[in-house]
Symmetry: C2
Subunit: 329 residues, 2 copies
């Protein structure tokens, strides 16, 4: 089988490619080729994997990728929430027109072609005021342009699937914790920062109170969601093709305490509490807890607890350092 | 003030223009000019009213209409549910790209220009399985391309309003009963047909059982919703700019009985029960009852009862005949 990944050079995309290469198969079918596309060149090096770079808002570019008739397409490409809010036109171009181009390329490819399309949506489709926990029948009323674009893409995915043009599954990812790499400017960045930075011996700013609750999943869980979405029987979804992924509902205080138990008081002391009213206000508008019943009954599996997430991050970082040392030697 | 109406030649559009001309003002401000645009020329004749025809999917056409800086824009233009289902590309072009053109024309017009935009959405944004009654926080999971397009337009309207580009109000109209004119092929057509045709001395087919329940509003109520949406203080809407309009939840049996009480047994006997499994299946997927609490608290007023709707239709038809005779004389 052939697999196309849009956004294959991103944090989740790279992990997905690695997992596919390691497995060698998807849903019991041997993988013959993986093409990873992103706005920048790069990604996993493997004989199975080819890469290219371009603009998903360019219809011709997308048509040529779809022309290879991939059996499964993962669409992870997106500009992030903060950028979509500041760059209004760019957000709609990449996050909405990109999806429209992809769906149209698939629809127009041929009458017989109906690939599985796995689309990464976001819990940003929800906006306050919420019910709690948020159930699968709750209104999508996003409070950002990013969330609006994701909600629209979900509607298109369901309609194109209902019409038989594509076999779509949309997965609303929780906030991914622990994100590796450098701190970024995303308002949600501190959720990863308060774990990642202390473990690297660095200070981390905590701009909100310990009682702030949020919905999180590990990078490994996110890859698990993608692989399951690529292979599940979509009959169980009916005409509602997108699902809130199961996650952990956890407070910042519980996250800090978990870090302390695993890494000790000195590491936990690297977290500096510096309340930021602006970030506090943004985060107050975010969802905190979901039932995620449909996803669970469709076989999506959440992280078991936050300690396992922290330990997996520590193991990932150790492996990354060893790989780095191996390459340097 | 200047008013632009997109879709001004349609059934609701004409009534809206007539009401605006008759009132001479909107929200306490004198109306200086009304421009009515539609895919076909036509509409109400008045010194206040100018008309033009064109394609709302043409961005230049919309930009030139917006260039006159109307204070209030009513966007009623749309192809109907059945046509959008068969003509996939046309549906997205008119019902989605048309709205995008309008919103972009307004956004790009100037930083100071922020007109009130009243958009007619539909209860087709909802799809079975439902909660009952459907509350204002219920998921939009449409089961038609038309409903998908309306749901997307609502999301865009809220996002462009939140960003301050426009001051939007979306109103989800119930099924309009009694629609004047000839029977059409819409699956919902019988809801009007079983009242209109017998009153005109003609047989009407009833393809569903008497226990079928639906959510309806009169043409006069629809115009009232539009006028209120044009003048209400949008602060009460927050960032959720669209509302389910209040209607009557009524069964087909209750509708028939109301007709019998007003017009007598002989008229009611013109309704011929001919169950149609295909129509029955479509109608089974339609919503039947709403709380519409947000709209009611925002001052939207529903019809009081179905008898008043039937009597208003009879009065409208009488006035239409008299006008016709007046012009002929």
């Amino acid at each position: 089988m052939r697999i196309l990944i849009l956004g294959g050079a991103g944090m989740v995309g790279r992990r997905l490619v690695e997992a596919l290469v390691a497995n060698g198969e998807l849903g019991g079918r041997k993988i013959d080729a993986i093409h990873s596309f992103d706005v920048v060149e790069g990604g996993v090096s493997s004989p199975l994997v080819s890469t290219s770079a371009g603009d998903i808002a360019d219809a011709g570019t997308i048509s040529s990728l779809v022309a290879a008739r991939p059996d499964v397409i993962f669409h992870l490409a997106s500009i992030v929430s903060g950028e979509a809010e500041v760059e209004f036109e760019k957000g709609y171009r990449i996050n909405l027109a990109g999806m429209q181009n992809l769906l149209e390329a698939i629809r127009l490819a041929s009458d017989e072609y109906r690939p599985r399309l796995v689309f990464t949506s976001s819990i940003a489709v929800f906006g306050a005021p919420f019910e709690e926990p948020i159930r699968d029948t709750f209104l999508h009323a996003p409070l950002t342009s990013y969330g609006t674009q994701k909600a629209i893409c979900e509607l298109l995915l369901s309609d194109y699937s209902r019409k038989g043009f594509v076999d779509g599954v949309g997965i609303r990812l929780p906030t991914i914790v622990v994100r590796p790499g450098k701190p970024n400017k995303a308002a949600s960045g501190f959720f990863s920062g308060i774990i990642r930075e202390p473990l690297a011996g660095l200070e981390a700013l905590l701009p909100v109170g310990d009682d702030v609750r949020h919905w999180v999943a590990s990078p490994a869980a996110a890859v698990g969601f993608l692989l399951h979405a690529a292979t599940l029987d979509t009959v169980v979804l009916g005409d509602r093709r997108s699902l809130t992924m199961p996650g952990l509902s956890i407070t910042v205080g519980e996250m800090v305490e978990t870090l302390r138990q695993i890494a000790g008081d000195e590491i936990a002391a690297l977290i500096k509490r510096e309340p930021d009213a602006a970030i506090g206000k943004i985060v107050a508008g975010w969802p905190r807890d979901f039932s995620a019943e449909r996803a669970k009954s469709a076989g999506f599996v959440a992280d078991t607890d936050f300690a396992a997430i922290v330990k997996a991050h520590i193991a990932d970082e150790r492996a990354r350092r060893q790989q780095g040392e191996g390459r340097a030697a």
